[in-house]
């Protein structure tokens, strides 16, 4: 299906890459391929990859995309894979102007993939691993039959978002297997309860790490460890999939499929965490590169038309491209004019604020990191994700400029209505929508509930209830893996409720003192 890039596009890619590097972008080698509309739909349905394990859900997505395309409701211009080298796909019947814009956009993404810290632990050989996953699943299908494998994949997919995206940056807890091997070798392992030791020069050490404090901490840790002994898991655990892989009675092939699903979920997680930033960054650069270097006069209209189409937002929908690019530009402007820090924040004279630092702004076109603003956005793209990005850089002025509002479902009319344009409310809502991909936080609290081997999960409530129907359906999937009864504790209308499924029927009960507590609490 892969067609070699035509000579003229290859030349364009080389030129654009050169401009991109001149502006300071730093990316893996990028391979462009040209695909037909059907092929692009296929790749998009596969989440950007040329192949995935066999599953009907990809077919469903494909049908949706094809329909959307044929009704002219949505057009996929570009796809890019976070991989080393990066792979990017161009749509065959795009005009040359579109192709150039897409290439510039793609280099922005590739730079983001390579340099943003949230992507730093992703698998850069995912292209190959996806193919391996496909082969493994196909082999299982051959051996155990399509129905069995497919049912199991469905079950796993139901739980695929129960991972802990932050765990990529934590020291992994030792698996039971590794522990066993270590003990066999007579290695006691690192001393576990030593208290927190701050780094210090030797002559300062007794003062910075006084013995008394260390002893007290060690004592507290030992007591804590004693309390936790025999608890599985030792602490509330967000990575439910990891817990299932370790403790659920799975056959080898089932464990392998679960690990595939988990691995892919972790691979895709940073893309969910940085949607606004990633698209904003790529749009910022396609815009900068196109308007400063690449556009020819006769391409201007086409470019403007498609650029504004991509960034268009309808009243009820925030467009991540738009929010992202505007916020990056806003940051650049603010740092160029020094509109940050306590002095600026303390100033409440509108006139002064409006003219703050105007004379500092660069007078000529900036290349690369040649201005404080550019320097800042390069830093932002390296260490932020969507949540921290908005939390730190969203300002009342920005919300006013972008004409944002907060809306809510009005039960009396059955419509979505504008509530207000209050900065705090809007920011809170945006952060909520981005936190954990707008999915609830679920933890494993007990793997041996009531000493009966039952699994007990908990929902950490942060203002919004779980959907009961979906929770009950999802519990069924969980039970199919755990085999013993499963429970989830949730707050519904401020009442603590325990939802359960024992393999035959769903139940729910009010949690009161008579009910045994799980090993951990949130």
């Amino acid at each position: 299906m892969v067609r070699k890039l035509p000579k003229d596009l290859e030349e364009q890619a080389r030129i654009i890459a050169e401009f991109a590097r001149r502006e300071g972008l730093d990316f893996y080698p990028t391979i462009f391929e040209v695909l037909s509309a059907e092929e692009v739909s296929q790749v998009a349905a596969y989440g950007g990859f040329p192949q995935r394990y066999p599953h009907w859900r990809f077919g469903m997505e494909y049908e949706r995309l094809r329909k959307q395309h044929s009704y002219g409701l949505g057009r996929i211009y570009e796809m890019v894979i976070n991989n080393d080298p990066c792979y990017a796909y161009l749509l065959e019947d795009n005009t040359l102007t579109d192709q150039k814009t897409v290439m510039a956009h793609v280099y922005g993404h590739c730079d983001f993939f390579k340099n943003n810290i949230w992507f730093s632990r992703t698998n850069r050989r995912m292209m190959d691993d996806m193919a391996n996953h496909a082969t493994r699943v196909r082999r299982y299908i051959k051996r155990y039959g399509l129905d069995r494998v497919e049912t199991f994949i469905d079950t796993c997919l139901s739980l695929e978002d129960l991972i802990d995206p932050h765990s990529m940056f934590m020291q992994r807890t030792e698996t039971r297997g590794a522990q066993h091997i270590r003990r066999q070798a007579g290695d006691a392992g690192p001393e576990q309860h030593a208290g927190v030791r701050y780094p210090a020069k030797s002559y300062m050490d007794p003062f910075i790490n006084p013995r008394r404090r260390l002893d007290a901490e060690r004592q507290a840790q030992l007591e804590e460890a004693e309390r936790r002994r025999g608890r599985v898991p030792a602490k509330p655990l967000r990575d439910v999939l990891q817990f299932l892989m370790e403790f659920a009675p799975l056959q080898d092939w089932e464990a392998d499929i679960l690990s595939i699903i988990r691995e892919e979920a972790y691979y895709f997680a940073p893309q969910g965490q940085t949607k606004i930033m990633n698209e904003g960054w790529a749009s910022y650069w396609h815009s900068t590169l196109m308007t400063n270097y690449i556009l020819k006069a006769d391409e201007l209209i086409t470019y403007c038309d498609h650029h504004s189409g991509t960034l268009a937002s309808s009243p009820g929908r925030l467009n991540p491209y738009k929010v992202g690019i505007e916020l990056f530009r806003d940051i650049e402007r603010r740092w160029n004019t020094g509109r940050y820090g306590p002095e600026y924040d303390a100033c409440d004279d509108m006139q002064t604020r409006r003219n703050w630092g105007k004379d500092q702004a660069p007078k000529t076109r900036v290349v690369g990191r040649g201005s404080p603003g550019r320097e800042k956005i390069y830093q932002v793209r390296a260490i932020y994700n969507d949540v921290t990005f908005l939390d730190e850089f969203l300002t009342p002025e920005f919300i006013e400029d972008q004409n944002l509002f907060h809306y809510r479902y009005d039960p009396s009319t059955g419509r979505m209505v504008v509530v207000n344009r209050d900065f705090r409310k809007i920011k809170q809502q945006m952060l909520f929508m981005l936190t954990n991909h707008a999915r609830p936080y679920i933890y494993v609290l007990d793997g041996n509930y009531r000493n009966r081997g039952e699994l007990y999960l908990g929902h950490r409530h942060n203002g919004v209830d779980l959907d009961i129907k979906f929770a009950q359906e999802t519990l069924k999937a969980l039970q199919a893996i755990w085999k013993r009864p499963v429970h989830i504790r949730a707050l519904i209308d401020d009442e603590p409720i325990l939802f359960s499924y024992d393999g035959e029927q769903s139940a729910q009960q009010h949690i009161d003192d008579a009910l045994p507590e799980p090993a951990n609490d949130l």
């Binding site: 077919g59 997919l157 937002s313 009820g316 925030l318 979505m416 809502q429 979906f470």
Partner: protein, 366 residues
């Protein structure tokens, strides 16, 4: 053309959809969900329980952030927001397009309906001309320019008269080739369905709904079995008239019932347009079975026996239950018209009976 990798996944998805529709077929048959959703060749069907459940937020979360003008209290767009509780995903119902043929196949499989055998000589053979060949002689209007040009070019190159700097190609008689046609005969079976409905005062909205549903599925199945199909609609109370489809399902009259009027109108329609040698004929009559007089019922039986049944594939009488009236007509038919294989009757008391009714009508494959 090569096949995309995803074709397999897509096929599997369609297969799952069909399975779900089959599971829910009885429900679809008895609910009006599918009516009004049919397009030209496909029908949009709401399928339940396809997507994969996740732990997700519930409904007290319908809020979001948007951009644009508007003051507090104004409605936001179409209500489709970025908010997680919005309409983004997972209403647990998926709308899928299914071809009418596919749907009919599912119906056929689930109800175990045999394929209909078109009767006797009604397989008309249609003739069509296909331009599929090439000849040395023919009218200039059918000259195949490309081939002619190529032959001329080849000849000129071989004879050395071709000059690349001034590429002038001149046809000679021997270069010219022409398109030619073959006549293809393909068997084609045509059918006409005549729906008749009693619209007297005793047929209420509920009864009409039953008729509508039943007619939809009759249509779907017959369309699957015949290539060319026409539908005609006759309504009657004491008099009968042909109407269009819309009117057929909407019209409401008061007054009595004389069923023979409909039979007579149907006969006239058939005589004038649909000769029995050329058409497979299906008649369906829907009524609450409350005919005005005994004598008219007898008249109906006579007409059926003598004029109608001998020439039609199937006469289906479907009696819907009504709060009024005796509903006696079905008994009269059973009593007075015996031994006719192509007269099939069924009672539909409520929507759940449609499933069995369809099965009764078509299980003989007539």
């Amino acid at each position: 053309m090569h096949v995309l990798k995803i074709a397999k996944d897509h096929q599997r998805f369609r297969q799952i959809i069909k399975g779900k529709i089959r599971q829910d077929l009885r429900k679809f048959l008895s609910r009006g969900e599918l009516l009004g959703r049919e397009g030209k060749r496909a029908i949009s069907i709401p399928v339940h329980g396809i997507d994969i459940p996740h732990f997700r937020y519930g409904d007290n979360n319908d809020a979001g952030v948007g951009s644009g003008d508007g003051k507090p209290g104004d409605q936001v767009g179409d209500g489709d927001g970025m908010g997680p509780g919005g309409t983004q995903e997972g209403r647990h119902i998926l709308e899928v397009d299914v071809g009418l043929d596919e749907l009919a196949d599912i119906l056929g499989e689930e109800l175990q309906l045999p394929r209909i055998q078109p009767r006797g000589k009604k397989n008309i053979t249609s003739e069509r001309d296909r331009y599929s060949g090439i000849r040395q002689a023919g009218p200039e209007s059918l000259r195949h320019f490309k081939r002619t040009f190529r032959r001329a070019l080849r000849r000129q190159i071989m004879s050395g008269t071709y000059d690349p700097d001034s590429p002038r190609i001149i046809f000679e008689r021997g270069d010219k080739v022409y398109r030619s046609w073959k006549t293809v005969r393909s068997p084609q079976s045509n059918a006409v369905i005549v729906y008749m409905m009693d619209v007297s005062g005793s047929m209420g909205a509920e009864q009409k709904e039953l008729v509508r549903l039943e007619a939809f599925w009759i249509d779907a199945w017959l369309r699957r079995n015949y290539e060319g199909i026409e539908s005609r609609y006759i309504v009657h109370d004491v008099r009968a008239a042909e109407v269009d489809r819309e009117t057929f399902f909407r019209l409401r009259e008061d007054g009595g019932t004389r069923i023979s009027s409909a039979f007579r109108a149907a006969r006239e329609l058939l005589d004038s347009t649909y000769s029995a040698d050329e058409w497979n004929i299906y008649l369906f009559h829907f009524s609450d079975g409350d005919n005005s007089s005994e004598s008219d019922s007898r008249e109906c039986c006579k007409m059926l026996r003598d004029n109608i049944l001998p020439t039609v594939n199937l006469f289906g009488y479907c009696q819907v239950a009504s709060a009024y009236g005796s509903g006696n007509f079905i008994n009269v038919l059973h009593e007075h018209v015996t031994g006719a294989e192509n007269l099939i009757t069924s009672r539909v008391n409520n929507k759940d009976d449609i499933y069995d009714s369809i099965k009764t009508f078509f299980s003989k494959g007539q």
